[in-house]
Every structure is written in structure tokens, then in C-alpha cells.
Symmetry: C2
Subunit: 260 residues, 2 copies
């Protein structure tokens, strides 16, 4: 599916006006079904819909491993992804209930509910990185971001290890881009422990919880975390390296993994 | 409620490391109740919660005008907003159903469902602005953004007329900031027709639909719209002026309202 559309716009600069062609991101509504039941509609870029559906379902707790999945059918025309699992997860009906009281913008009604949803699984990893290595990864992320350079409307997310970037994904939503990485890793049996998640977007509590559910010990961002994200990161053992720009980088939590 | 927290972080630049204090945005989970029923939990900045609750409920179709509201109680400690209406809107139970299949990231499963949700109410306005005036408003928005300058983690949204900015709001989410403006206008009887909505964030279909539900004819963004947002804007009569930076501005839809 083509993810970009061209449009003729009027561009004004000082007193002059010109008609130019620009590329815009398409934004399509992907509806995800699990065992025949509609779960959610995500507004997304329209590529890698299989990965996005699996990553979203994993991140929300509907599936736990790739062997839970029986079939995945993506219909590009209807823009739907239908996932069937081997057996019904007894937790799933509770999760369907839960969605009625949350939104893509929030999970749970207190910090402790957030922690509860996350099941407090501690991320353990002895990975150690230098600030210079992290800054290099951020530079590599920007070099890969063709769609951002073309449209100025995409977020970039990548997964890296100590030898550089392994997977790169883009989307209009930073949550979707992380879910695509999660889905890709699950479908391809990529071990996420000891990896680094890199994002152009801010590190909110939701992004941090997604990182924790993936079991990734380090999140690197061009932008800043919220105070809530830092609290949860301290609790669950995730290193937040952020505000990576202009040759500097700040470490907000679990600094023991960063040093020269 | 204090919206910022200070944190000691390690900042690395080249080979040097320093311990500095930074300000982080807090991010609190506000749970909104309507007539005793839990509707949603929004992760937000934690200020102007009354406005945010009313704006969210209005934007989602739960309330239509301020006279629908009997009481609003905000509990800053529990971080809840309880809204009671004069009478139960017969549409509301349908909306509760609807939330089970959408997320903060999406509404409806196709473009036409989006249009349907929006009820296709056309935004009519004879407002006419110059590109220079719009660029001036964007500059004013940046001048007002103290929290962004302090934390680098907030989106700014403002409402303006032909005499400049009337209301300015910030939040960690661009959706929340727009809802605060909507709520403020509704609670204070501010007529939104003929106004300009200004945002630092991208114009996705959701932001465009919020703008349409407010009846605001012009949206001005520092960033770009998606192709879907432009299609809906053409349909419902909204002018999108975007990519306002470096002394230039592009008009993506309904250009008849912009000229010298």
C-alpha cells in the first residue's frame, strides 16, 4: 500500500505565492479483529499491518508469544487485520472490558493501576553502552528516515544491539511504530532482551510500558521523558537516555548501563 | 496542581559528564466520569482538568452545550472529574458502546465512519486572513510557550480571532490541549465560529474532526496535515494552514480564506 499522497498547495513566503506539490502521509484506519471480535481501530501509516496488529495485541496483553497465533489475515482493501489464536486466553475477556474505560491516550486510572497492568515484571540486563554509541545510533536513525524527510509527518523507531540498528519502522503515531517493532520481533523470533529501542518521539508512560512489555532494557529518545515515565522506568529497571541532540545526551534512569 | 517536577540527570557531552537538574512534565492520569459512569482515563498535564473533562466530553459527543451540564466536580487528589448532566442524552449509551471498538488513536473503521461520526456539519465562515497574520500568530504562540521552553515536552494550542490570541493552553498531548480550549470556550460562552485554532502539533484526522466539532473554520499548524485530514477538511469546509516556519506557510485546503 502506498503510504504517501501528493497534493498541490499554495505556499506563501513574504509577499510571494507559489503553487507547489507536496507529499503528505496518507493515514489509514486499520481495524484489528481477534478471534472474530473487533478490538480497536488504529489510525496508522498503512504499511506493515501484520506486524502492527500483532505488536498491538502483544502490547495490550491479548497474545504473549508467536505460538499463540494460529492465523493472521490482512485485507489491504478493507484495511483490516484478523488474528486468530490457538486457544482463547482467559484474560482476554477482561481486557475487552478494560478497553471501555481507557483510550489510546491512557491506561488505568492511577499510577498503581498502570503498574498493575504492567505486572511489574523487572527488566534485567547487563548491557552497557557509551554515550557516544547512543549518539551514533540516534544519527543513524535520522539517516534512515526517508519518509520524515519527504513529508515531515512521521515518527521513526528502531531496534538496535551493540552492532547497530537491526529493524527500522516509521508511522504517523509513535505508539504504532513501537508496536510494529514489537510485532516484527515476535513474528521473527528476535530476542529483545539486551536490545536498545530508539525513538524520535517523547517517552510518555505508555511508551515506557510498551518498552517494558517488550523486555527491552534501554530506550533512547531524541526527545524527553515525562516524570511518570521516569518513575516507572526506575521501578521496572529500564534505562532512559534522552534529549539526544547537539552532541549531548541525558540519562534519566538506571544510569549504571551508561558509561565510558 | 504543580505540572513540573525537577530531576537530577547525568548529561554527557563529548567526553565530559555533568550532573544537572532538569524540569520534567509530570503526566497524570485523569479519569472522567459522566453521570457516575467511568468514560475514559486521559494521561495529561494535570492543569485545567475541568476544561479538559468538558472539552473531551463535548468532542466525543457526550455533551452538546454548557446548559447540558448540571455539575462538574474535580478531585485533584484522586485526579478525577465527575460531570453530571441535566438529562441523559439518548445517544450516550451508543457512545459508550462505541468506545469499546476505538482508541484515542482512531475513530471508526473507515473514512466514511469517520465522516458519519462527524455528522458532516459544514463549517461556514467568511473569515479572511493574510499569510503574514497567520505567521505572526504562530510566532505569538511560541512566545507564550513557557512550559515547552522549560521542559521540551509540551504541545501548545491557542484560539485566536482577527485581534490576536484569546486563549492559550498546553499539554503533553495535542488532543488534550485542543480539548481544553474547547472546554474553556464552552464554559465561558465563547463563540467559536470565525476563530482560528493554532497548534504546534501535526494535523491528523482526529485533530481535524475536533476542529470541525468546535465549528472553527481555520486551523494553523507549525507542522503538516495528513492526506486524510486534508480530505475531511475539504469536505467540511475547514482551512488548513500548515508547515508555518522559516517565514513561509502552506495552505492545504479551502484557500479562499487566505490572501493578501
Amino acid at each position: 500500500m502506498n503510504t504517501v499522497e501528493t497534493l498541490r498547495v499554495s505556499r506563501y513566503t513574504n509577499d510571494s505565492r507559489e503553487e507547489i506539490e507536496v507529499s503528505l502521509i496518507k493515514e489509514v484506519p486499520l481495524t484489528i479483529f481477534l478471534n472474530g471480535k473487533e478490538v480497536v481501530t488504529l489510525l496508522c501509516l498503512g504499511d506493515q499491518m501484520k506486524e502492527l496488529a500483532v505488536g498491538f495485541l502483544a502490547s495490550e496483553g491479548f497474545i504473549e508469544r508467536s505460538s499463540d497465533i494460529k492465523t493472521i489475515r490482512v485485507d489491504e482493501e478493507k484495511v483490516t487485520a484478523e488474528v486468530e489464536t490457538i486457544s482463547e486466553n482467559p484474560l482476554v475477556s477482561g481486557l475487552f472490558e478494560k478497553r471501555t474505560i481507557t483510550s489510546g491516550c491512557g491506561k488505568g486510572s492511577t499510577f498503581y493501576n498502570v503498574m498493575d497492568a504492567f505486572k511489574c515484571r523487572k527488566v534485567e540486563s547487563k548491557i552497557k553502552v557509551t554515550p557516544a554509541y547512543l549518539l551514533g545510533l540516534m544519527k543513524n536513525l535520522h539517516e534512515l528516515s526517508g519518509l520524515y524527510r519527504e513529508t515531515h509527518g512521521a515518527h521513526n523507531v528502531a531496534l538496535a544491539d551493540l552492532n547497530g540498528i537491526i529493524i527500522f519502522r516509521e508511522d504517523i503515531g509513535r505508539h504504532n511504530a513501537v508496536d510494529k517493532i514489537h510485532g516484527h520481533a515476535m513474528l521473527n523470533g528476535i530476542d529483545l532482551s539486551g536490545k536498545i529501542l530508539i525513538t524520535t518521539g517523547r517517552v510518555s508512560s505508555e511508551i515506557l510500558i510498551k518498552t517494558g512489555k517488550m523486555g527491552v532494557p534501554v530506550i533512547l529518545s531524541r526527545s524527553v521523558p515525562t516524570a511518570l515515565a521516569v518513575s516507572i522506568a526506575e521501578e521496572v529497571g529500564i534505562t532512559i537516555a534522552g534529549f539526544a541532540r547537539g552532541g549531548s545526551i541525558s540519562i534519566y534512569s538506571h544510569g549504571e548501563r551508561v558509561g565510558d
